[in-house]
């Protein structure tokens, strides 16, 4: 009997409020929920704006650029087959203060820095396009 290797990642369930976030990468664009009335972005998405109460919330394209707010290099192989080390990071998107998304950094672990400029890159697994981030060399040089 052959043993099936575990999946590299456990994928997110595509739920009604969140599916757009995980599938938007099919078009190469990162989308974050935005309120049409007050203009605020909110993530994770909710059925109404937690700032002004409006229900006019909808996915809106964003630049896909941001900076690493914090990161950690994970060394523990939690499940068989998990490749370590890897960087788990919170990225603050350029569009708004404290607008965070979680991600892995597509770079050698030792390159990670708080404040590092990063840009989105999608990684497709089945029907999910995971937003990943890599160093944005152009931005850091600028």
């Amino acid at each position: 009997m052959s043993q099936t290797p575990p999946p590299a990642r456990k994928l997110p369930e595509l739920e009604p409020d969140t599916a757009f976030y995980w599938t938007s990468g099919a078009e190469g664009v990162l989308r974050i929920q935005r309120c049409a009335d007050c203009g605020i972005y909110q993530h994770p998405p909710f059925p109404r704006c937690s700032c002004c109460g409006s229900e006019a919330v909808a996915p809106a394209p964003v630049s896909g650029k941001g900076r690493i707010a914090s990161y950690t290099i994970n060394y523990e192989p939690w499940v068989p087959g998990l490749e370590v080390p890897f960087v788990f990071a919170a990225v603050e998107l350029t569009e708004q203060r404290e607008l965070y998304v979680f991600t892995n950094l597509l770079a050698p672990a030792e390159a990670a820095r708080v404040g590092m400029a990063v840009t989105v890159e999608f990684e497709q697994h089945d029907d999910v396009w995971l937003p990943m981030f890599r160093p944005d060399a152009g931005e850091d040089a600028a």
Binding site: K10, P12, E13, W78, V79, L82, E98
Partner: protein, 394 residues
């Protein structure tokens, strides 16, 4: 001063079951052990108990984090509760205590037994992965959907973000953080029910493997089997009981941030914990400097710094320097901290070890780890929801 409900209540009894990695006793047996001992400690009979509450209730998910419901505990104990509660939501581990306080103040109950049981050591024997965040289904949903696909499979990955951001903002270092584990272990050596009692030096701490930078093995608490119970009573019903009542001087609670899946602030503090801290001090004339000891939640070591600052025990950005060297947090220091070893060394009683240890200190039961003349203790619980209490003995 407004009459706050907690001022009408007090803790009259407390007990802990044995701690096991694993225990040969089931979660329900351990629960009964702790509850019956706490009721006896208060000088009460089972028939005196008219309320029972727990966090979080019962679930087959979570690897033994939620093994016992209050209904089955009541049945096993022979309690016929008028008031009963399981609270998985809200102010984290202290929610059933705060709710019990409210029920007692409203006259719904006189003596409530509050318990917290864990069977995580047993669950991990069956599967080491049972305590991870990924769940048992093929895909992950809810809040964990934002982190698990990125292989942040343990809460340590999230709290490591806080540690890294704090280190960078305040210039903190690993020797300072290591003192939480080292100091806790020193105290655990004097606690017969602690799961780890072997001495731990700062060198041992630094030599241990890194789990998720900057956090190492000894920055993590440890899965156990065990149960803690306390009896919360109306002050009028506590007068002639066995122990001097431990007054619930104040309580503070908050939800937000992590609990709602939202990340507030810049990862160098937990804003909702600060809101719990503000509420705590608004309800008492006591000040942080009046605290004789502190039992501060340490699911991971970094929680202690977050909470010390949230509770105003030290200024923002100063927890790292306050604990450096360990003298100020030692049993004979300025603010004796996690005097039973905390969760890092005594085991993950999930906040209730901290509450139990506060009762040990205030009732003078600490023996070798007793803080001299301890009359006040501040306690905090939680990494995702936030609760804090001050206990005071006359």
């Amino acid at each position: 001063m407004t009459l706050y409900p907690e001022k009408l209540t007090c803790i009259t009894g407390a007990a802990q079951s044995e701690v096991g990695r694993p225990s040969s006793r089931t979660a329900l047996q351990l629960t009964a052990d702790a509850c019956l001992a706490a009721i006896a400690d208060a000088g009460l009979k089972v028939s005196d108990i008219d309320g029972i509450a727990t966090y979080p209730g019962k679930s087959s998910e979570g690897g033994g984090i939620a093994p016992v419901s209050p209904s089955e505990a009541a049945a096993v104990l022979g309690i016929e509760p008028r008031w009963i509660l399981a609270s998985a939501e809200g102010f984290s581990h202290m929610a059933p205590i705060f709710n019990a306080i409210t029920a007692i103040a409203c006259g719904l109950a006189r003596h409530v037994v509050v318990f917290r049981s864990v069977a995580q050591a047993t669950a991990r024997l069956a599967s080491r992965q049972s305590t991870l965040m990924a769940g048992s289904r093929s895909r992950v949903d809810g809040n964990n959907a934002w982190t698990v696909p990125y292989n942040a499979l343990s809460p340590i990955n999230t709290f490591a973000l806080y540690a890294q951001a704090y280190f960078e903002k305040y210039g903190a270092n690993e020797e300072q953080l290591g003192m939480i584990a080292v100091s806790g272990r020193r105290n655990a050596a004097l606690n017969e029910n602690a799961v780890y009692r072997k001495p731990l030096s700062l060198e041992d701490y630094l030599a241990a493997r890194v789990i998720s930078t900057p956090l190492r093995l000894f920055d993590c608490d440890s899965h156990i089997d065990g149960s803690t119970a306390i009896v919360v009573s109306h002050i009028d019903a506590a007068k002639d009981l066995r122990n001097p009542p431990l007054h619930i001087e104040s309580m503070g609670m908050a939800v937000g941030g992590l609990w709602a899946g939202r990340y507030e602030g810049d990862f160098t503090s937990i804003p909702a914990a600060h809101r719990a801290g503000e509420m705590l001090w608004q309800r008492t004339d006591l000040k942080p400097a009046d605290m004789d000891c502190a039992q501060i939640y340490d699911g991971f070591s970094i929680h202690v710094w977050m909470w010390m600052e949230a509770l105003g025990l030290v200024p923002r950005g100063e927890a790292c320097r306050f604990v450096e060297g360990g003298q100020r947090i030692a049993l004979d220091g300025e603010l004796p901290l996690n005097t039973g070893g905390g969760q890092l060394s005594a085991g993950r009683f999930h906040g209730y070890g901290h509450i139990h240890e506060a009762t040990v200190q205030l009732w003078g039961r600490g023996a070798g780890r007793q803080v001299r003349d301890a009359k006040t203790c501040v306690i905090s619980n939680g990494g995702y929801g936030y609760g804090a209490m001050i206990l005071r003995r006359d």
